[in-house]
């Protein structure tokens, strides 16, 4: 308890607090810019921490990283462009809300759920470190493989209640997995589907794919409509909209809590990353709908589709830190970079962080909590002005957003081909939406593809096919079957007569 309180006082010291504020300002801007993710910025900022004390360095870095995750949702909602590389799930319902003139409500909901998620993540981090070790050690490659497959099954099962919609969803999940195999195969180093282009040796980068497939179709649709993002809806009730969004968070608090738990859990699992947490939380939010009619609202601007990913996106930061601090096993790319900061500070992740450096560990918990509270309060103060952007004529907005989209994509490899990839996936995304083929399964398949292949390879190499009979794997297979079948069972009358 003493270390917990000491951690708070360390963060509140003027130097650490000032550096946290600087980090937050950087994170705020970076989060708003499409494509430039928190992880890339963490890497850029690492050289600045050499002369800082551990508490100051983590206040600076974590303040920046956690805020980028929060403000990424703002761009997703206002322009349909994922602000942070992995905050795409918020687009699915947040942007339709903005188009309906409810940008204020969506932003209020996203920010408040982010805050709740961040606090739950920080609390879990504070409580879980001593007890999480057995859980992480229980999950070997076979279990992690099954978890990834469940992630894809979750989002795919939401592609619709007819057999044909499910087929489209699974096909897109598989296409995403197939796209992830482009480039060098990790185990043997052989090249796959590189088409003789050196650019493809490293595989397709996530940022151009994600920004292209989500942002370009929305921008084209905005140009087709020839109106502002909010259309002909009058710019009224923005303040009350924000308040309504905040109230929505507490109206659906149990959902926000569950999605935060999903975020923490995915964060703890090594390698899964924030994108997976968001989509799994989104899938959970959709599956929580009481009936088919309620479920149909998702994708068309249901506030629960904003609350779930918003909460998970921030709670996973706390979860991510757990294996990083406790075992030196980074939960994501950003945490791998943060691990570099540990080394620079001369700190060795592991038991020492729970004994000798416990106050530093708790200072991280406090940084996560304080940085998010300040960001949300500041954002709420300027939200009305941000939401007004959705009432500017589309013709004026489109070239600016295109500029951000393409500069963001370009940062992936600093190569002109990044722009071509963005364009191609933009075209693909547009065709998919036009024809009713879902994009989320493709994205999740792509995000998880490399992990799925690695875990499958290790499982088969180590256990042959005997891993399929391990008790925990069997349990996870059971969960996957339930995930796929449950919506059908619950909505039997709807699909029984569904024409398929």
């Amino acid at each position: 308890m003493e270390a917990f309180i000491d951690g708070l006082f360390l963060v509140l010291q003027w130097k650490a607090f000032s550096l946290m504020m600087v980090g937050m300002a950087v994170g705020f801007v970076v989060g708003l810019l499409p494509g430039i993710g928190g992880a890339a910025t963490l890497a850029l900022m690492i050289p600045f921490v050499f002369k800082m004390s551990p508490v100051e360095a983590f206040a600076f870095l974590l303040g920046m990283h956690s805020v980028a995750a929060t403000t990424g949702d703002i761009t997703s909602i206002l322009f349909g462009v994922p602000g942070e590389g992995l905050s795409a799930a918020t687009v699915v319902d947040g942007y339709p809300m903005a188009k309906r003139g409810e940008a204020g409500r969506a932003l209020g909901a996203a920010l408040m759920s982010s805050l709740v998620g961040a606090l739950i993540g920080a609390l879990t981090l504070a409580l879980a470190i001593p007890i999480v070790r057995p859980l992480v050690l229980t999950f070997g490659s076979p279990e992690l493989f099954m978890l990834s497959v469940i992630g894809i099954a979750c989002i795919t099962s939401l592609s619709g209640l007819s057999l044909r919609a499910q087929l489209r969803g699974f096909a897109m999940g598989l296409l995403g997995l197939l796209l992830s195999t482009i480039g060098q195969e990790r185990q043997s180093g052989s090249l796959r589907f590189d088409m003789g282009l050196m650019y493809l040796w490293e595989g397709l980068d996530l940022v151009p794919v994600l920004v292209g497939i989500f942002a370009i179709p929305e921008l084209v649709d905005l140009a087709v409509r020839g109106t502002s993002i909010a259309g002909d809806k009058l710019p009224t009730n923005l303040s009350s909209g924000v308040m309504e969004g905040i109230k929505d968070t507490f109206r659906h608090f149990w959902l926000v809590f569950r999605c935060s738990a999903v975020g923490v859990f995915v964060g703890i699992m090594p390698g899964a990353g924030g994108g997976v947490a968001q989509w799994m939380a989104y899938a959970h939010a959709v599956q929580s709908a009481k009936n088919a009619k309620e479920r149909e609202q998702f994708g068309k601007g249901d506030v629960r589709g904003v609350l779930g990913p918003g909460a998970a996106n921030n709670s996973k930061e706390g979860g991510d830190l757990i294996p990083t601090i406790a075992f030196g096993v980074p939960g994501s790319g950003a945490m791998a970079i943060l691990l570099g900061a540990f080394m620079i500070m001369g700190l060795i992740p592991g038991p020492d962080m729970l004994t000798k450096h416990l106050t530093v560990t708790y200072s991280m918990v406090w940084t996560l909590a304080i940085a998010n509270i300040i960001t949300v309060l500041l954002s709420l103060a300027v939200l009305n002005h941000l939401a007004k952007l959705t009432y500017i004529r589309g013709g004026l907005i489109i070239p600016f957003v295109l500029l951000l989209v393409f500069v963001g994509s370009y940062t992936a490899n600093n190569h002109i081909a990044d722009l071509v990839v963005t364009f191609c996936f933009g075209l693909l995304g547009y065709i998919m939406v036009r024809l009713g083929w879902p994009r989320p399964p493709l994205v999740l398949g792509f995000v998880l593809g490399k992990l799925v292949e690695t875990y499958l390879f290790i499982s088969v190499s180590r256990y042959g096919f005997a891993w399929l009979s391990q008790p925990l794997v069997l349990l996870l297979i059971g969960i996957m079957v339930v995930v796929i079948v449950y919506p059908f069972v619950r909505e039997k009358p709807a699909w029984a007569g569904g024409g398929d």
Partner: protein, 159 residues
């Protein structure tokens, strides 16, 4: 129209997956196993979908639950023309970046789009272009220090 598009998209998927399966079957087990176990079910699922689409009657439980929907308020012919125009502008921007590099392409694209496509007045277009270029220059070039490739024209001219 929708069915024709669906047919073409399904054929595209089958071709992509077929190419992947064929290539993977010629690689070593370690390299080809994963793409092969993905490509084959992808072909099967797409064919089943195609068969249901054309011989399975109308799909009643319609539409994906977790996907955005485009506007239906605009006449299809106008919508198609505007979509093609926008994609052409995007392709033009990429071509500009390829030829000139990002820094000159940004103001050129901004002013062209605003004046020609958005039909904005010259004064407003110039002010907005200057603002966008300033934002681009100070944030991306000066503050974030992002390195942008020079265009092929400058390279040819040895600039």
């Amino acid at each position: 129209m929708e069915k024709k598009g669906d047919l073409l998209f399904s054929i595209f998927l089958i071709l992509v997956a077929g190419y992947a399966a064929l290539s993977a079957s010629q690689w070593s087990f370690k390299t080809g196993f994963f793409p092969l176990v993905i490509a084959i079910p992808l072909i099967v699922l797409t064919i089943v979908h195609l068969v249901l689409e054309f011989f399975g009657g109308a799909e009643k439980a319609n539409g994906p639950a977790v996907e955005a929907e485009f506007t239906t308020d605009v006449e299809p012919a106008v919508a198609r023309r505007r979509a093609i125009e926008t994609f052409s502008w995007i392709a033009g921007f990429i071509l500009l970046v390829f030829l000139l590099g990002f820094p000159p392409a940004v103001p050129l694209f901004m002013i062209s789009y605003l004046t020609i496509q958005s039909r904005t007045g010259w004064l407003q277009s110039t002010v907005l272009t200057a603002g966008a270029w300033g934002f681009f220059y100070f944030l991306f070039q000066r503050l974030l220090n992002l390195q942008f490739e020079t265009g092929v024209i400058q390279t040819w001219m040895g600039l």
